[in-house]
């Protein structure tokens, strides 16, 4: 609000084919996507984590709630964490009604994102196949399809012949070790250019006055009145954050980190039901485009899509061992390749070009932890496991609403931290173990 008052709202340099041509002809360069500003001593809200979740939260705080005196802090560069390391798959075909409603809203926001943010995020609505290799898996696919339909989400179970029509490179014969018995087909699913989502939110938030501060590491969260040391913990409230660039006072701190969610929350004296595990991914060299859809196999722990650049992008389940090291492993690529070839033998001569990993905060029920905590003014949007990217728009929208209004929106009520005190967990675990 102060940002607007001070005239910080900027005239955006609009992206369009015409503008591209005009600047191309004139040889003009484009203005900076977001400003580099001094870190102020006080903000109305501080968002920790400059990934898709943090940036979306800041964007919606400004857009929907006119809160523009907001800083997004990132210890590295924007999108340096899981936002730029995920496999960019979006879908809404979850198992529980609360999960489906939530991710369906996210998918809607992804659908209109290019126009909302004026950046082409290249949402490729190419359909999403979750393969079933056993009767038990097929039963779960049916279950998901039925729940999806009741929520108005387009999902259905299809057989091998139809699967072959959607993705001809899949081996639908009955001889593999893991025969493809059927699949959950979800036409609205697809892939998005994840970096563009990061940049788009940052640019749009910047235009409304939000500040993005890179290389700004949060060292502590300042609290008062809490039952723990230094006024932290239950019953207390947030007064500010300490960064490597000095202290900031703020009444609202929103933890939008992945990989470090537990460590950041501990700074406010809040313990989380989270363990941190690496999630690995890999990409092949490009070949001419042949795979038109996203293919997932839960039993084989693999998901596959082909980018418009021709690369196959692979992901898997999180590593079993809790870890903050993201160096990647050879065994991951071995198992991955074995499983990919089980599904698509014809890609055996494609070469793996690069592997990487990111950190995932896993919760006991494979659902996030969102909303208020026992520390007043400290909100969390964490525990995103392997499905954070899909949820970024809706999470930002809902957490911003919670922070601005002080009330928990209905859509995220099932994901409250308090469920781990009452034992009433969310039932996504069965379907989401590797459900990309």
């Amino acid at each position: 609000m102060r940002g607007i008052a001070r005239g910080m709202r900027r005239r955006p340099a609009k992206y369009s084919a015409a503008a591209l041509a005009w600047r191309g002809l004139k040889g003009d360069s484009w203005p900076r996507v977001w400003r580099d500003t001094e870190l102020k001593r006080s903000y109305d809200a501080v968002v920790i984590g400059g990934g898709v979740h943090g940036l979306a939260t800041a964007y919606y705080l400004a857009r929907n709630h006119s809160m523009t005196n907001v800083a997004v802090l990132d210890k590295a560069y924007l999108g340096s964490g899981a936002s730029g390391r995920n496999t960019a798959i979006v879908r809404a075909n979850y198992l529980t009604p609360e999960g489906v409603a939530f991710y369906d809203r996210s998918l809607q926001l992804y659908n209109s994102m290019a126009l909302d943010l004026n950046i082409n995020v290249m949402f490729s609505e190419r359909g999403h196949l979750t393969l079933a290799h056993s009767d038990a898996a097929l039963r779960t696919m049916h279950w998901r399809a039925e729940v999806n339909k009741l929520q108005g989400v387009n999902s259905s179970v299809i057989g091998p012949e139809e699967i072959k029509k959607v993705a001809s490179s899949l081996d639908t014969s009955d001889h593999p070790r893991y025969p493809i018995l059927g699949a959950l087909y979800h036409p609205p699913g697809g892939i998005v250019r994840h970096d563009a989502v990061v940049w788009g939110y940052a640019r749009a938030a910047d235009h409304m006055g939000v500040e993005m501060h890179q290389k700004t590491e949060v060292l502590d969260i300042l609290c008062e009145g809490g039952e723990g040391a230094d006024g932290k913990g239950a019953g207390g409230r947030v007064t500010g954050v300490r960064t490597n660039r000095g202290d900031i006072s703020t009444p609202i701190v929103i933890n939008c980190t992945a990989g470090w969610a537990g460590l950041i929350s501990a700074m406010a004296g809040v313990r989380l039901p989270i363990t941190t595990h690496p999630l690995q991914a890999a990409v092949t060299e490009p070949v001419k485009v042949f795979l038109p859809t996203v293919v997932v196999s839960g039993s084989l722990h693999v998901y596959i899509s082909q980018t418009d650049r021709g690369e196959l992008v692979f992901g898997a389940a999180v590593d079993a061992v809790a870890n903050y090291s993201i160096r990647g492993s050879l065994e991951f690529t071995e198992e991955l390749a074995g499983h990919v070839l089980e599904l698509m033998p014809s890609v055996s001569r494609m070469r793996l070009l690069r592997q990487w990993s990111g950190l995932c905060d896993m919760t006991p029920d494979y659902s996030p932890v969102m909303g208020f905590t026992p520390v007043d003014g400290f909100l969390v949007d964490v525990g995103w496991g392997t499905y954070g990217f899909k949820a970024a728009p809706v999470s930002g929208e809902q957490i911003a609403e919670a922070a601005a209004t002080g009330r928990t929106p209905e859509l995220i009520a099932p994901f409250a931290l308090s469920r781990f005190e009452t034992g009433e967990l969310v039932g996504e675990k069965g379907a989401a173990a590797v459900g990309h």
């Binding site: 992206y15 503008a19 360069s29 082409n120 039963r139 399809a145 060299e285 014809s346």
Partner: protein, 949 residues
């Protein structure tokens, strides 16, 4: 440029007596044994090998090796083959990639005309409206995907893997690497030397100078005489935790590519240096090549790279190239010495008549522009080991910083120096590696309780006393006074990077993501430092300030086939499986097991069991043999019910819950003797329950005396079910009184069956019929099965499969863990609340189950559709009336052959759980039907009279 074959060169690796014929874009060509695809084509005068990704500019040889971004071709069904590296084979069908319609006339080259609009990241700024057209735009963009084609009929060829445990692995067989290998081997280490190229020797191979050739001969002879294992055409692709190395061997005689996994005690990194392109206008034109490419073409393959050359040199490699060119009769029109501050500004003209433009404007005509602008240190393996190499502006490249002690760098990566200095550094590195490897070996053995005791103390960790290699001064030649191409794979120029940095994508990682520089096939080997330099320039900072990107594995791309290897996905079958196969079985995959689903007509199998007698092979049933005095304590702890008073000869059912109260497994356990029990688990839970039991015994109750042995596959398990089962079993069993009075329901006996001693049998009733479950030593499973079949022929005995069993258990209302329960189903939801004994001292999940007693939980109930002929699908949802509110779901459903009606189990909200409640089931078709919740889980024989008979 005009390339041609020279007269025989003393250093050449081709065998001119052996001609290899092949095809290039459909036309016939030939080369010699020892040629690469590119050298054979170059010798035949070809000079355009590919078109660039975005602008479809013609591209020729740049580096003439594995990393050459312009030499990716399709060979048969093998896409993206490195023509600068892959050896020519007779009959190869080689095609240019990324061309349309042909290499010579590429229509998309028109993109070059509009390149000012196609700046990096242009696609983020357009194609947004109308939104409906984006899929069409996307399809067009996708046609720009570079690379070869996947042939849909490509088979997964033969691949293999090898494990090895060398003391020292040396990555790179240049002079320093060879010396390191030799010195380590001389010190007693087991050494594996891995060379990326087709032969050892590094840069000595393509040197025509006499001292280099003599040294090469000497090193080769020494290697031959040593115990060092040498792998050529092989690459250390990754260094992972604790020196776990991936090595890809491309020249294995049988495997297409072989993955070698090595646990090296010490890794010596000696990959040498990679020559870096120079960025100036037109630097990607055919005819602009690196000095290394010129020397390789001349000295390895006897190819004259052009007729008239301009040489830009900033180092001895460039000087050597000029000398080589001159020696083989290429007219060296000008030598431009970068050390004197002279620069090349542009390469203009066509590839046949190239013009080199100097920064002063001087033009020289040539058909070849040879550039020696410096090197990139391929520090990938060091990065993977956690090192963060440091930039040295004086030497214009990165150097190792502080790698872990079991990773040592030598050779060009570590510094400069003459050949003797490099060799000496290699030797001391090899010695150090061997000493440290010995210390690691000692530690491994000392920490293995069951290994032979080690003698002596652990050797001290040898200090690194190597004299560092000196660093030669080298001018920083990244970009000249003009802009040019930085990433040839991705068509990213220095202008793109500068523009990206100005837009705010001004860290290496952001710029890389925005422009895609360094993300192509060369993995940054050629372009990373130039990329960093461009960003540094745009930011007005130094390269050291900007830093570099993290090199990620693999060092060189490797095929998915090599990574996958041979597919080892074991399946399990019971010892009776051959009988099933001979008798028309339809199998079903259940975890690792292949099990009989049915033999043609599951409903008939059910009717036969209900009327006569049937056999089912239930071998996958998890079985744990328990021995020891504390078993009752263990069972009390694991199961929700009580076990203290189970007499010998009795069997009891138990349900296991996890600590959160969620149903984990179930099964029966029988007491075979005073301190001897047999526990059964679900088939899928067998492995997990065993670990669960061991965990409790070892960590929470280590003082208890119980010994657990998994015996799932030690016994073949056969359930004999049906009213005539007693008659049938009595015909084959000896030493046991089968009368209902002597052998009651839920009892266990030891018996001899069909002459097989040591069998257990118990009376249980998953099917709801009188039944005897036999556990027979697995080697005799088939014999007993056949004996039963033979003995029961007149009783109407027949086999039944999993499907029949599932129908019958559903008729009886028995739930299946994991089908009728899910990841949140608490114990009381199963309807087995009475089996949860909260008055015990302790058992797994007890507090949660105690609190659950006060909660309203979803319940598992039996449901019957009011229309008996409609079978709701498993997963059909139970909803509130006409609304979409979900109140439960059908978890199991079948048409009952016994009752002639549809029957179900389902989970419903507590308010619907009472018998007689009407519910609405939404079928998959969308139709809503009415159904009734039953009083009992059992649809059939709820009092269990049949099974107690």
């Amino acid at each position: 440029m005009t390339m041609s074959r020279l007269e025989v060169q003393p250093t050449e690796v081709i065998d001119r007596s052996t001609t290899r014929r092949f095809r290039w874009n459909g036309k016939r060509f030939s080369g010699f044994e020892g040629d690469t695809i590119a050298s054979a084509l170059a010798a035949a005068g070809e000079h355009v090998f590919s078109r660039s990704m975005k602008y479809h500019r013609p591209r020729g040889i740049l580096t003439a090796d594995y990393w050459d971004p312009s030499l990716l071709v399709q060979v048969g069904d093998d896409p993206n083959v490195r023509a600068g590296h892959r050896l020519l084979e007779a009959g190869m069908d080689v095609q240019a990639q990324n061309v349309w319609p042909s290499l010579r006339h590429d229509i998309k080259a028109a993109n070059g005309l509009v390149s000012r609009f196609l700046t990096a990241g242009f696609y983020y700024k357009t194609f947004m409206r109308p939104q409906k057209l984006w899929p069409a735009y996307e399809r067009v963009l996708a046609t720009f995907a570079p690379g070869g084609k996947v042939d849909p009929d490509t088979p997964h060829r033969y691949h293999d893997k090898r494990y090895t445990h060398p003391d020292v692995v040396v990555a790179g067989a240049g002079p320093a690497g060879i010396e390191a290998a030799l010195a380590a081997a001389a010190a007693g280490a087991r050494v594996l030397l891995v060379e990326h190229e087709h032969a050892v020797g590094g840069h000595l191979r393509y040197s025509s100078q006499e001292p280099d050739r003599a040294a090469l001969a000497e090193l080769r002879a020494a290697l031959d005489a040593s115990d060092v294992e040498v792998l050529t055409d092989s690459t250390v692709t990754g260094r992972y935790e604790d020196n776990w190395l991936g090595i890809v061997q491309r020249n294995h005689p049988i495997a297409v590519e072989r993955l070698i996994k090595a646990r090296a005690k010490v890794l010596v990194v000696a990959p040498g240096l990679i020559e870096r392109p120079y960025v100036f206008s037109g630097n990607d034109r055919p005819g602009v090549i690196t000095s290394g490419a010129a020397r390789r073409l001349i000295n390895l393959w006897g190819v004259k790279p052009g007729e008239r050359a301009v040489v830009f040199t900033a180092n001895s490699d460039g000087d050597a190239a000029a000398a080589d060119l001159d020696r083989v009769g290429v007219e060296v029109a000008a030598v431009i010495d970068g050390r004197d501050g002279r620069r090349i500004s542009a390469a203009q003209g066509s590839s046949k008549a190239l013009e080199a433009v100097l920064s002063g404007g001087t033009r020289t005509e040539a058909d070849l522009l040879v550039v020696a602008a410096g090197w990139t240190a391929p520090t990938s393996l060091l990065n993977m080991a956690g090192d963060r190499p440091v930039y040295d502006p004086a030497a214009a490249r990165f150097f190792p910083s502080d790698p872990p002690g079991n990773v040592l760098a030598t050779g060009g990566l570590a510094g400069d120096g003459g050949l003797d200095e490099l060799r000496a550094h290699g030797t001391t590195t090899g010695k150090l590696a061997a000493e440290r490897a010995a210390a690691v070996a000692h530690r491994y053995q000392a920490r293995t309780a069951r290994a032979l005791p080690v003698t002596g103390d652990e050797p001290a960790w040898a200090a690194d006393l190597r004299v560092p290699l000196r660093r030669n001064h080298h001018p920083e030649l990244y970009r000249s006074d003009t802009h040019g191409m930085i990433d040839l794979s991705e068509d990213v120029g220095s202008k793109d990077l500068v523009a990206a940095a100005r837009e705010g994508y001004d860290s290496v990682e952001l710029a890389k993501r925005y422009t895609t520089a360094t993300m192509g096939s060369a993995q940054g080997k050629l372009e990373t430092v130039n990329t960093v330099a461009a960003i540094a320039e745009a930011r007005g900072e130094t390269i050291a300030q900007v830093g570099t990107t993290v090199w990620r594995p693999p060092y060189a791309p490797l095929t998915l086939g090599a990574l996958a290897g041979r597919v080892f996905e074991p399946v399990r079958v019971s010892s009776i499986h051959p009988w099933h196969e001979a008798n028309g079985v339809r199998t079903i995959l259940a975890g690792q097991w292949i099990r009989p689903d049915h033999y043609g007509d599951p409903a008939a199998e059910v009717r036969n069991v209900r009327a006569n007698v049937g056999l089912i092979d239930v071998t996958p049933l998890g079985k744990l043999d328990l021995r020891g005095p504390d078993i009752p304590n263990l069972l009390n702890l694991l199961y929700t019910n009580k076990w203290s008073k189970l007499p010998v000869g009795k069997v009891r059912y138990g349900m296991m819950c996890a600590e959160d109260g969620v149903v984990l497994d179930d099964g029966v356990t029988g007491r075979l003797g005073e301190d001897h029990y047999l526990m059964t688990t679900t088939s899928s839970g067998a492995g997990g329950v065993w670990e669960w039991v061991e965990n409790w015994l070892q960590t929470e109750r280590p003082h208890w005396q119980v010994h657990v042995t998994p015996v799932t596959t030690a016994y073949s398990s056969i359930n004999v079910a049906g009213p005539k089962s007693r008659e049938l079993v009595s015909r084959v069993a000896e030493g046991v009184d089968l009368s209902p009075e002597a052998f009651k329901y839920m009892e266990v006996r030891t018996a001899t069956v069909a002459g097989v001693t040591g069998c257990f049998m118990w009376r249980i009733g998953f099917t709801g019929e009188l039944s005897f479950e036999l556990h027979v030593p697995a080697g005799h499973g088939m014999h007993v099965w056949e004996a039963l079949m033979e003995a029961g022929a007149d009783l109407g005995v027949g086999p039944f499969g999993l499907e029949g069993q599932r129908i019958m258990r559903l008729e009886k209302g028995h739930f299946i863990v994991g089908q009728d329960t899910d990841g949140l189903t608490l114990g009381p939801s199963t309807g087995l609340g009475p089996l949860i004994k909260l008055d015990k001292d302790d058992f797994a999940g007890m507090p949660e189950l105690a609190w659950a007693a006060d909660r309203k939980l979803p319940m598992i109930v039996a449901i019957q559709p009011d229309d008996p002929n409609v079978v709701p699908e498993e997963a059909a949802q139970i909803v509130r009336g006409d609304t979409n509110e979900i109140l439960g779901r059908i978890t199991s459903s079948r048409m009952s052959p016994t009752l002639g009606r549809a029957i179900c189990l389902g989970q419903v909200e507590p308010e619907l759980a009472a018998g007689g409640t009407k519910v609405t089931v939404l079928l998959v078709s969308g139709q809503r039907i009415s159904a009734t919740v039953m009083d009992h889980h059992a649809h059939f024989d709820p009092d269990g009279e049949r099974l107690r008979g």
